[in-house]
């Protein structure tokens, strides 16, 4: 029989027992819906995590430190074994890295302990300079107030915990000023005499107390500067350009002064190199290491994350498939019942010239059509279920004063894969009934009342 005739007959047969076939199809749809809803949550969570992580810049950023940095002691340092001589992480190195291919920006990490005065009360905290690119990192989404008005503004964004230290009503801080008291590093002229008498390197810097007034423009609940450099979480954030003009003394300055005599030249304890995409991080990291610096990225963590989500999706898929497995039994049951009911019809078809394969294909197509409709409606139900879960979650998050999230996601590949899977599962369920129908003896079937 031609495929079109086969399909016509299959649809006709399905229409004739519409209630039973609709219920069987509904069973498949519920199974597919459960699978799609589970996977859409898995995909949604993965997308949410990936988006947040990629926006955070952690996965397209390489953290560069001088090779002789003491951080990492106690762990094997592969950088130490390389032949490239260590170099100073200074402005020249920064510019050199900026010229590397696929680099968006190279910025120093500026963090320093300092004292903040607000309403004549002192508060100790860590200040961090934030690059302009962090505006779109996602870390500032849902913040109270605004991001810095310009990269050189004398403005501050406070982390909520610090804001609570300053005032019982953190929101009231926005628009107010605070005083940032810090130690400015001023280079000393080289003293030739001391160098000849003691044999020690000369130069160094003096520390001058300074004060800068910053206007509080926002309060953020996340920790945008967490993980940058490892000096603890910064709780007062200011524009990176503003922070760099302060020449505030940092932790590494004392170490640098005893190590060489280039104290009057700007050196950095660490630099962040942002690549155009995470896929270029590995190559860039190698290039930077070959320049004589230590470099590391969180790419490996990202790979582990992908593995985690793959396993997570697999588990969700297995749980979601259980309902589909039950629905499969429904298809087998429906088609076996149909064989009993249509026994005589099968005999007539064979008497009129239908081959065994025609009968088999007819039952196959009927199973496939149930799978197609079950898959289609299953995707629709699954999507609606995902939306409902997202809606419920967001209502809860709103009550907790948290930002809404897109918890479920049904990408095109999931739509197509779910429908194809439903058809394949239905065809597999139709295997036994179709084969049984094809094997019916036409003489016995025609005699059947």
């Amino acid at each position: 029989m031609k495929p079109r005739d086969l399909t016509d007959l299959a649809f006709r047969n399905l229409r004739e027992a519409i209630l039973r076939n609709a219920l069987t199809t509904l069973g498949v749809a519920v199974g597919v819906a459960s699978l799609v809803a589970m996977l859409s949550l898995g995909v949604g969570l993965q997308e949410l995590a990936s988006k947040r992580l990629s926006q955070s810049g952690l996965f397209d950023t390489i953290f560069v430190t001088p090779k002789n940095n003491f951080r990492g002691m106690g762990r094997p340092q592969r950088e130490m074994q390389s032949d490239t001589p260590p170099r100073t992480l200074d402005e020249d190195a920064r510019k050199e890295m900026e010229k590397l291919p696929n680099v968006i920006e190279v910025y120093p990490q500026i963090r320093f302990f300092t004292e903040v005065r607000f309403n004549n009360r002192p508060f100790a905290t860590v200040v961090a300079g934030m690059p302009e690119s962090s505006r779109n990192s996602g870390s500032f989404d849902g913040m109270q107030g605004n991001f810095f008005s310009s990269p050189t503004a004398n403005e501050a964004i406070l982390q909520i915990e610090f804001a609570k230290d300053l005032s019982e009503k953190p929101a009231s801080l926005i628009g107010q000023d605070l005083a940032l008291r810090y130690a400015e590093r001023q280079a000393l002229p080289v003293n030739d005499d001391s160098s000849t008498t003691s044999g020690e390197p000369s130069g160094g810097f003096s520390v001058v107390p300074k004060e800068l007034r910053l206007k509080i423009v926002g309060i953020v609940e996340t920790e945008p500067a967490a993980g940058y450099g490892g000096y603890g979480n910064a709780r007062l954030l200011m524009p990176l350009s503003t922070a760099s003009t302060l020449r505030a003394a940092q932790v590494n300055d004392l170490r640098d002064i005893v190590r060489d005599n280039t104290a009057n030249k700007t050196t950095y304890p660490s630099l962040s190199v942002r690549a155009k995409s995470p896929s270029q991080v590995e190559t860039l990291e190698a290039s930077i290491k070959s320049m004589g610096f230590a470099a590391f990225s969180l790419l490996d963590a990202s790979k582990s994350l992908r593995t985690f989500f793959s396993v997570f999706d697999l588990l969700l898929g297995i749980f979601g498939s259980l309902a589909l497995a039950v629905a499969t039994l429904g298809i087998v049951n429906t088609l076996v019942m149909a064989i009993l009911e249509r026994r005589r019809e099968i005999g007539v078809l064979k008497a009129l010239g239908a081959a065994d394969s025609d009968v088999q294909q007819l039952f196959f197509v009927e199973a496939g059509v149930m799978g197609l409709f079950g898959g289609f409606f299953g995707v629709l139900f699954g999507w609606l279920l995902g939306r409902a879960i997202t809606f419920g979650t967001n209502v809860y998050l709103k009550r907790q004063n948290l930002n809404p999230i897109e918890l479920s996601s049904v990408p095109w590949w999931l739509v197509i894969a779910a429908i194809v899977f439903a058809i394949l599962v239905s065809l597999a369920a139709g295997l036994y009934p179709a084969s049984r129908a094809a094997k019916l003896n036409p003489v016995d079937a025609l005699r059947y009342e």
């Binding site: 031609k2 008497a351 009129l352 081959a355």
Partner: protein
């Protein structure tokens, strides 16, 4: 050996069944030659093996031994798919209980063999109408079988059997479910069709008077064997 005038040649055909450990000899060593355009009536009591013989000629069943040649084809040599094609293109069948598919309209029932024979869709409506005209039921095209009388249903079954223009028409007790007047009308129709289309008809029946009136020849079966196959109905008897 069958000659060019032979439509069906049965040569020592036997069919045994095993049922509950016992062997049933449904057809036993039957040899019979049926000429082209002949109308043969197979008579016999219930369980005499006539329907089994008809099923063997139809290719719905295979003989345990012996051979069947139909329209030059040795059915024993045909594969299952070739047998299906033989049933589709060479054979037309009608049954005592009509066996129309109740869910389909008359048009769809009659179109079914055309679908199985993969006849072009464009050609089908004309063929269906032609078959219905032959049984004088064109006005019931869109009706369902349950809306028809028994005689009308059997006429539709004849139209369905004729739509693929078969060379052999096999009828298994076609008047068994009909009153005598309707049964006679059906046999009259079969007789007309046979004359118009030049077909070979093998009809299984219990009704000897009707068979004698319309068939060219009678073959009598009893206990699976062919008791007699030589009776020729006189032309003037019809």
């Amino acid at each position: 050996m069958p000659n060019a005038e032979t439509a069906i040649q049965l040569d020592r055909v036997s069919r045994q069944y095993s049922m509950g450990g016992a062997t049933i000899q449904a057809v036993n060593d039957v040899s019979l030659s049926i000429a082209r355009n002949e109308f043969l009536a197979l008579l016999g009591s219930s369980g005499s093996g006539k329907s089994t013989l008809l099923n063997l000629i139809a290719g719905l069943d295979r003989p345990t031994s012996g051979s069947i040649m139909a329209q030059g084809q040795n059915l024993a040599e045909l594969t299952s798919i070739e047998l299906a094609r033989y049933r589709c293109n060479t054979i037309g069948m009608i049954f005592q209980s009509f066996n129309l598919l109740p869910r389909m309209t008359l048009e769809e029932n009659i179109e079914l063999p055309l679908r199985l024979a993969e006849v072009d869709r464009g050609e089908r409506p004309g063929r269906v109408r032609e078959a219905l005209e032959r049984v004088r039921l064109t006005h019931r095209l869109g009706h369902r079988p349950t809306e028809l009388s028994g005689g009308e249903q059997q006429r539709v079954a004849i139209a369905r059997a004729l739509v693929n223009r078969p060379k052999i028409l096999l009828a298994d007790e076609p008047t068994g479910n009909l009153d005598s007047a309707t049964g006679e009308a059906i046999l009259s129709l079969l007789h007309d069709v046979q004359r118009q289309l030049g077909m070979t008809i093998v009809m299984v029946t219990h009704e000897r008077p009707l068979a004698e009136r319309y068939a060219d020849r009678l073959a009598i079966m009893g206990d699976g064997t062919l008791l007699s196959a030589s009776e020729t109905v006189k032309e003037g008897a019809r």
